[in-house]
Amino acid sequence: MKTVVEGRDIKKYFIASKSLFGKTEYVRAVDHVDIEIYDNSVLALVGESGSGKTTLGRILAGILKPDEGSVLFKGIDIYRDGLTRDIRHKIQVIFQNPDSSLNPRMRILDILGEAIKEIEPTISKDDLEDRAAQLLENVNLHVDHLYKYPHELSGGEKQRVAIARALAVNPEFIVADEPVSALDISIRAQIINLLNSIQKRLRISMLYIAHDLRTVWNISDYVAVMYLGKIVEYGETEKVFRNVAHPYTATLLTSAPLMPKEFRKHEIYPVGEPPSLIDPPSGCRFHTRCPIAREECKKLDMKLEEIEDGHYTACPFLK
């Protein structure tokens, strides 16, 4: 299969505190991660808050330069070679909170208009309005919304506008950063269905960042599970859910009360509190919360090993 986006050995640390004489402390948001997104497929990046998934998403979207490693978009190293305007348009982002991703002082028409003008700088006023109306139609919104301000729209409608804006520049890769977690349950399904149909129709590749396994199960072809800046399990969605191979993924699956029985192969629950990213545990980073941890886990080098075709895990002990 063709790879569209590839992250190689990505590292991103943020400075947590710096003192004049003491040593600088870092938040190890992304710690040497390799990741690949295939053509016309959805990779779900799953993890809890503080796992570094948003940081990784931003790095892959070309808006946050990693400290080390490279991001290749169709073979072009976007941080080394720089983003041309054309490639910039090919990678778009849908944010979690539509309240902050739409400029409150602009009408929907102007919000979509500025995206359309990127592709067609000389478009006439009337054509621009028709194009914007078409974009709204594509995300199942009424044309009347064009003349409204974001605050006149509901959360779900705003998120649809954000999706329309991303689609305006004909992207090939979309990073959707928890696009439904700020929305009500009844609206979530609508947005997921919309993303699903758009992805299929336009054959867009997508990185779907989420902590909600229900939507992940619905939308993704592949899953990467992240814990404290590292990917601990990766594979086709079906395989990861049915054949879970890392204890952290297993605890995620069992923590959802309504998770179907078939995905609860290991009834294990995590212990204690998540450690801080500033001083992550040695060895396997999950060992402090892992119910099946052994002595050797403290020294274990976390490396993804293939356990079945296209299914990788960083834990050899979950049987």
Partner: protein
């Protein structure tokens, strides 16, 4: 499928006033609303001073100096026998005009520097901020005095001096606001679309920080009137015989006990104008803050 918008609807919608509900909320604040009208009144009177003032502000009759208010001269005559009413009416032109010009100058420079400082950060930010620190270490009025001493006496130098003395406050204010807005997702979204920095600054950041800056400017209009008058009082403002309110008080102060009207009338106008600007500022602050709008009880509006 091709989507076309009905021509009629298109027109209708385009013409829909962008005027939000802020005017309604502003109007509901009676004090601010009345202040606005008083201020418009004072401004109009000063603008048309040539037609309204009963006498010339410069003609004097030294024999009738310091005459108290009478029917003929409602505000009385000043220390060399000029009609005080006419001088106050003409003086508004200078006092208010200087305030507008100075605030416009200060805001233009301060906001642009603040935008650059806040948006780009890094070394540019450091330089601008150290400059601001240095300027802010002097009280505004002292800064204005220092500048006027350098620039010399006159209307233009007064505007420049008072205007420049407000620049550091504008830089601080704007920078703080930019820092809040800079990290909003819509700014990031514009970057992801490939928009240039100048576009983002003027299209996305400035409109979202405009309200607090407008509100602050209204307060500064009141403040600059006071500063300009203060300089006039100290003899550092517009040179005589120009009728500027502060200068009028300055020259009338010797006769404060014997002829208080010479000081009182310009003083009252300075007070009213500065107060109006402040009250309008309060009203605008409430009206332009969408969060306030939500919580106002229906009964009051």
């Amino acid at each position: 499928m091709e989507v076309r918008i009905e021509e009629k609807k298109r027109k209708e919608r385009r013409e829909k006033a962008l005027f939000g509900q802020w005017w309604r909320i502003f109007k509901a604040n009676r004090v601010a609303y009345v202040s606005l009208y008083i201020l418009i009144g004072i401004t109009l009177i000063s603008l048309f001073a040539d037609f309204i003032a009963p006498y010339s502000p410069y003609e004097f009759d030294i024999r009738r100096a310091r005459e108290p208010p009478s029917l003929e001269h409602p505000f009385g005559l000043d220390e060399i026998g000029r009609d005080l009413l006419s001088r106050v009416i003409h003086g508004g032109r200078y006092s208010i005009g200087i305030a507008y010009a100075a605030v416009f100058l200060g805001a233009s420079i301060g906001v642009i520097l603040g935008l650059i400082s806040g948006y780009y950060g890094g070394i540019i930010d450091d330089i601008i901020q150290r400059f601001t620190d240095a300027m802010l270490s002097l009280p505004t009025i002292l800064l204005a005095i220092a500048l006027v001493t350098v620039l010399g006496v006159g209307v233009t130098s007064l505007i420049i001096a008072v205007g420049l003395s407000t620049v550091p406050i504008y830089i601080r204010l704007t920078r703080g606001l930019v820092l809040q807005v800079r990290n909003m997702d819509y700014v990031l979204a514009a970057k992801i679309l490939g928009k240039r920095d100048t576009y983002i600054i003027f299209r996305h950041i400035l409109p979202n920080i405009a309200s607090p800056i407008i509100v602050q400017s209204t307060y500064y209009l009141g403040l600059t009137i006071l500063i300009a008058s203060g300089l006039g009082f100290l003899g550092l403002g517009v040179p005589p015989p120009t009728p500027e309110w502060g200068a009028m008080i300055g020259r009338g102060r010797e006769f404060l006990i014997s002829s208080p009207h010479i000081v009182a009338f310009p003083g009252i106008f300075i007070l009213i104008t500065a107060l109006c600007f402040n009250l309008i500022g309060d009203g605008l602050r409430d009206a332009l803050d969408p969060k306030m709008a939500k919580y106002i009880r229906r009964g009051r509006i």
